[in-house]
Amino acid sequence: MRTLDRKWLRELWQMRGQALAIALVIASGVATYILSESTIDSLVYTQRDFYSSTRFAEVFASLKRAPLALAGSIAEIPGVAHSEVRVAAPVKLEVPGFAEVVNGLILTLPDAASGIDRLYLRSGRFPDPDEDDAVVINESFAEAQGLHPGDTVAATINGRLKTLKIAGVVLSPEFVYLLRPGDFFPDYKRYGVFWMNRKPLSMAYGMDGAFNDVILTLAPGATQAAVISRLDRLLGPWGGVGAIGRDDQTSHHYLTEEVNQLRVQATIMPAIFLGVAAFLLNVVIGRLIRQQRETVAILKAFGYGNGAIAAHYLKLVGLIVVVGAVTGTAVGAWLAHGLSGIYSEFFRYPYMHFVLRPQVPLVASGISAGAAFLGTIEAVGRASSMSPAQALHPEPPLVFHETWLERAGARNVLSQGGRMILRNIARRPVKSALTMLGVALACSIVTVGGLFNDAVSYMVDVQFNRSEHADLTVTFTDTTSPRAVSELAGVPGTTKAEPFRFVPVRLRNGNHSYRTAIQGYPTDATLFQLRNTALQPVRVPQSGLLLTDFLARRLDVHPGDRVTIEVLSGARQVVSARLAGVVKEFAGMNAYMSMDAVQRMLPEERGISGVRLRVARGHEQEVYAALRDRPRVAAVTSRAAAMRSFHDLMAQNILIYAAVMLFLAGTIAVGVIYNSTRVALSERAFELATLRVLGLTHREIGYILLGETGLLTLIAIPAGFAIGYGFAAYVAYRLASALYRVPVVLERATLGRAALVIVVATVLSSIYAYVRLGRLDLVAVLKTRE
């Protein structure tokens, strides 16, 4: 080994604590990058593989009822590769040992001939073609309810009770992410998807010789929009509610949003970490080189060239980067593996391909090396460009000035120690600002890490507590006579009943259009509360339309403008309505009208889609039991049960996420604070030892040294909150979609946790520095010059 190499290796060993802290920050950056990229790749690759092996459909349409003969016309639409017509029947289930009603969807088993949306068998078998009561069920439901092949469930289809025998458990590309229509969060216990033979299903649902659902794949080169438009024209007369492409299909949409979220993470987090690492290297290597001024001069006097000197320091930095990158890659891959376990809970794939493309760690290492290079090149350049004679002279004394704070009057209240603290900060404003920024970034990571928990809690609060005031919501199988309201109000235990109406529509403004449902409510509704953009309660207006703010923006309409409504059911009227206002909603894109306005719009179709119920305390089970078996009741959902299941689902995962964030932020906080304290200690040992000799106590010089870090930390915490809020707003902006908009909400507890991480890191680093201060060599000070 060359002597110069031995030198940097020894020096690296001497500063191992600092080097390790920097390597950890680099490792965190690399790990978050690998974690995000590898998870994105794994999800995308697994999705693509599963979709292609099961031939996931590309266009989806549902309708009221059409004769099977129409299937031929669908298949002949130019651009359609394969198509399949199905029966989709909502179902109420009784699961043995589970008191509540379970809702479900029964679909026709995929046609072996068309081969679209094939099912992946996890256990058991597929029903034989002549089996009337055999079904396969989706895995998440089977797991949540503990159902196995051979078990039976009682199902009410179209008002008729039927016992279904579970033949097998399956996965479907259509339900990788399974959400009950209208829900925001999955509820595996209370919603299941079943598949059974066409004939018994058609008979049970009154669809013999007919279908009410279409899926199809596109031929190469076909335009989706053209196919959808032809299909809509074909299905319109049969009650078609408008076909959608894969992008709007619920499960696929959620998967896409998840990948988007990961992409946001893949940019923000590594950028923070690597930026901080570059800054730390700048500080630490800068200090090392200043200390080695004379050594550099001597080496150059001996004839070592600039290149050799620069390379010597860069090798030292290089080893730190290598350790960081290798550790980060290993940890990132390990975390990605763990994360795919969490994902398999939400996203039901038969397998999860773990993908770590070799270029991902290479890119991460390359970016880290680049950041490290940028961080150190200035200091290294300074060392190598100095002439030996210049370098042999000590550095000129540091120039200080009174700070503006002192000139503004603080002069009279500050002790000498206080002045030293202020002037040290002011003398190197860039370094002080960057130190502050580094700590603030650590604080901001914890802050933004709390966003999902806080935002989701807030959304749940708005959704379940502030908007939804009904204890039970009853949905009918079909539009029903308004008389049902008084009938349900008469069920013992019910204290209030309010109707609602759903009308599938396409809203249009010029080129912009969106398919949704208009929800009709009585103008004096109290069980469902809409809120304006300031979240103040608003009533549904007597006439005119209310839109979710996000939908109004999407359609580019403002209050007072007119919106075209194409009704997608019944007589398919096309009417125009005035936008009366916008309402704030975090999930979905909805339209609201008064019940009366809906009746005026659809004079031939009076009726209601469901009823919201307020139930006397302690009577919920009783009312529930009275409703669930009524033939026209399609579903009864309980607000309390929905909230419970949501909390069960989120609690654990949010905890894991928060723990990872805390750890990552901790590495930055410790990295920045420990290193700046170390460097300050080294830079000021001479001065502080002098003060000790002059009679200042350990504690007094401790104040001077640690006051600087303390003051910067104190400023950094609120700055970190502000940066965290900025990141949160950016994340929310990037993630806003038709499915949900994350509100920028940060709870006090989150801010408190963020501050705590910083305070703990500061206290630990300070204790370390304080102990080191006790070991200052006072005698050496008298004889050396700095």
Binding site: P397, V399, F400, M420, E687, T690, V693, T697, V779
Partner: protein
């Protein structure tokens, strides 16, 4: 004022044992101006450090009036330095971020009966440059600030380690004049260690050290004023 008996100091550096002091018996009298002369390695700095409470002896006794400094802990030594000792260093050791006045004030703020920082700076002839930062002062001026800082807390003893070591002779004499004046006007016991023989002429007593021992003590019948010295 100081009284030492059989003072020994042994350092162990790696596997080498260095005997810096090999039995020092000495008394320092109140208000005297003493110069300790010796080549480098003679043990004079080690001796000064022990007198100032920066280091402790391996063996032997050291008393400051009735206080036994031989067996005291760090806290006691800090208090001793704080209350009784003023230090002047070869490289001034000023705090770069504080002005001349503040460099003095940082010591007067923790002293019991200090001089006003302005008064101390006037004594060393720097009244006009009080609000300058160290980087704006010459070497001699910086050393005089250091002297002002050392005397401002009204110490009983002023310990100066090669105070002119980093200065040219002209500036060095200005610094020595300041020390002379402090000794004369405030009656502060002053101990200067140096290898510059010329400085010995301004002392009451000259203590020669070599090889960790006292090689001889001479008393000057007449102290030469600092401004008459030349080297």
């Amino acid at each position: 004022m100081f009284y030492t008996r059989g003072l020994r100091k042994t350092y162990v550096v790696g596997e080498v044992k260095i005997e810096a002091l090999r039995g020092i018996d000495l008394e320092i009298y109140a208000a005297e101006f003493a110069v300790i002369l010796g080549a480098s390695g003679s043990g004079k700095s080690t001796f000064l450090n022990i007198l100032g409470g920066l280091d402790s002896a391996t063996q032997g006794e050291i008393h400051y009036f009735e206080h036994d400094l031989s067996h005291t802990d760090d806290r006691e030594l800090t208090r001793f330095r704080r209350e009784h000792v003023g230090f002047v260093f070869q490289f001034y050791n000023l705090i770069a971020s504080l002005t001349a006045r503040e460099n003095v004030a940082i010591v007067t703020e923790i002293a019991e009966h200090p001089l006003a920082p302005e008064k101390a700076l006037e004594l060393v002839g720097l009244r006009e440059r009080m609000d300058h930062f160290p980087a704006q002062l010459s070497g001699g001026e910086q050393q005089r600030v250091a002297i002002a800082r050392a005397i401002a807390k009204n110490p009983d003893v002023l310990l100066c380690d090669e105070p002119t070591g980093a200065l040219d002779s002209e500036t060095g004499i200005l610094v020595l004049e300041a020390l002379e004046r402090v000794n004369r006007e405030l009656g502060t016991t002053t101990i200067v260690i140096t290898h510059n023989v010329v400085i010995a002429d301004m002392a009451d007593r000259v203590i020669k050290m070599s090889d960790g021992r006292i090689a001889g003590i001479t008393r000057n019948a007449i102290r030469r004023p600092a401004h008459d010295l030349r080297w």
